[in-house]
């Protein structure tokens, strides 16, 4: 192990330019991936904020007693999809209506609006299918007259989400693939630069495993260094963008940053493994 570490570090010292190039390639690949991830995260955040506005109103019969309504609300609150269920009495409905009417507030003077159960759904259940399912079961309650949930709004949100997720997966995969290819190519150059050394190692009886190990460690270190550099660049870019007051964006959570660096290490390791394997197969 000591020998592996020594050989891996030696190669950084011997070919600093190539090592720096590899680190930079990893860093730029991860940086572009990170930028994309930032956009995706902030988009998702915005999206869930909009989504949180999805709510279902179940209007109840005028004859429904307050106790029945309260019991009904409690029952609805127990649905697995439901985050919050609240009773809206006729008075509340009126005062809300007045509020939203502004200067026309005095048009209403009687409690003509029906009472209702207002339902908000948990995250993950705000898609069209779930909303519809909950709406249907609300409709099945005997004293519920009408259920409204802005069907069109929910469906549009759903469509946007599908497109956004699809694009995200496609672009993310493409970025990751490009990163892997670039890293493998860079490490392959490093391996070729040491072809002579490898052939000498084989000549004196080194096993393939022995030859491979320093390269793998080198790849891992390169990847981690690249990951750190990418994080730094990303932080810089983020600071630059959020200098403007109107931008109110989120940065990566620390667990994601760590995952990113680990991903860099893994990329370096795999790129290296791939390049060395290919080389050893050919000589």
């Amino acid at each position: 192990m000591r020998l592996t570490i020594r050989e891996a570090l030696l190669s950084f010292r011997r070919a600093p330019l190539l090592s720096a190039l590899s680190v930079m390639m990893v860093a730029f690949s991860l940086f572009s991936f990170g930028l994309f991830a930032l956009v995706a995260i902030n988009f998702e955040e915005e999206f869930s904020r909009v989504e949180a506005r999805v709510e279902i109103q179940a209007f109840v019969d005028d004859t429904t007693s307050v106790t029945t309504l309260t019991d009904g609300v409690a029952a609805v609150a127990r649905y697995s999809e439901v985050q919050r269920a609240a009773p809206i009495t006729r008075e509340e409905a009126l005062s809300r209506a007045r509020e939203s009417m502004g200067e026309f507030r005095d048009v209403f003077d009687a409690e003509f609006l029906p009472a209702s159960i207002e339902v908000q759904l948990k995250e993950g259940f705000r898609d069209a299918v779930s909303v519809r399912r909950v709406a249907d079961s609300l409709e099945a309650i005997p004293y519920v007259n009408d259920v409204r949930y802005g069907e069109e709004f929910v469906q549009q949100l759903d469509a946007i989400r599908t497109v956004a997720t699809g694009t995200g997966i496609a672009l993310g995969t493409a970025f990751a693939l490009v990163a892997i290819i670039i890293i493998a190519a860079t490490i392959r150059i490093a391996v070729l630069a040491r072809a002579r050394e490898i052939s000498i190692m084989r000549l004196v009886g080194a096993t393939n495993g022995f030859i491979r190990r320093p390269f793998l460690l080198e790849g891992l270190l390169t990847g981690v260094a690249g990951g750190l550099l990418a994080l730094l660049l990303l932080r810089g870019a983020f600071a630059l963008v959020t200098r403007f007051d109107f931008v109110n964006a989120l940065f990566l959570e620390s667990s994601m940053a760590v995952t990113g660096i680990a991903a860099g290490g893994l990329l370096g390791f795999m790129g290296s493994a791939f390049a060395v394997r290919r080389h050893l197969k050919h000589v």
Partner: protein, 230 residues
């Protein structure tokens, strides 16, 4: 030690480089391998250190069959051999002693025995004072001595030398040859490819001669060596 039995090596494009070669080099023997360029000397040597596999026939070296050797067993064979080349093949960015130590480290030698052994090997090849020199600070002859020390690091049964004096002047050639003779005297078999007939004539060793891939002469079987007739 080295045994070739009806060995043929064919390359896809250039055809047969070695045709039906049969010979045997015993323990502690010294043999020259001669012949013009392209006669198959390097191919024969490559077959003996498993850099190539025979197309047909059998190659046995140090008790292992090269024809049947699995990929991962190749290093085990190499550790029983010492291989020397015309171009030395030293690692340029390592000192003489690091080059030798490298061969020991590669085979998993205990790290506490390496420095002593390296020092002994350097003494043996007459480079005790050049341990810390890099290859580019050494003359050709000295570089080849480092290569020989490296070849001896794992106490080989056989030293395989491919034109070891090809890049050296007369004086260095004599020195290297003497060193190989000393190694042989100590009991290690040596198979040395060369087209330096002067060298071949100087010593009374066995001579194998190749021509166009065919083993045309073996002094162990005839009393009049072809090479000395010319």
């Amino acid at each position: 030690m080295i045994r070739f039995l009806h060995v043929t090596k064919e390359y896809p494009r250039t055809g047969a480089a070695l045709k039906d070669a049969t010979f045997r080099i015993g323990k502690g023997e010294f043999a020259f391998l001669t012949g013009p360029s392209g006669s198959g000397k390097s191919t024969l040597l490559k077959l003996s250190y498993a850099d190539e596999r025979p197309s047909s026939g059998e190659v046995r070296v140090a008790g292992m069959s090269v024809s049947k050797l699995r990929r991962r067993e190749v290093p085990l064979l190499r550790r029983k051999l010492g291989i020397i080349f015309q171009d030395f093949r030293l690692l340029e960015d390592r000192t003489a002693e690091e080059n030798i130590a490298f061969a020991l480290e590669v085979t998993g030698a205990a790290s506490n025995v390496i420095p002593g052994k390296v020092a002994r090997l350097l003494q043996q090849v007459g480079l005790g004072s050049k341990a810390a020199s890099y290859p580019n600070q050494l003359s050709g002859g000295e570089q080849q001595r480092v290569a020989i020390a490296r070849a001896l690091a794992n106490d080989p049964y056989v030293v395989i030398a491919d034109e070891p004096t090809g890049n050296l002047d007369d004086r260095a050639t004599r020195g290297i040859f003497q060193l190989l003779q000393d190694i042989n005297m100590a009991g290690t078999a040596v198979l040395m490819a060369t087209h330096d007939l002067e060298l071949v004539r100087r010593a009374d060793y066995r001579v194998l001669e190749l021509n166009r891939g065919q083993l045309v002469f073996d002094s162990a079987e005839t009393s009049t060596p072809a090479t000395t007739e010319r």
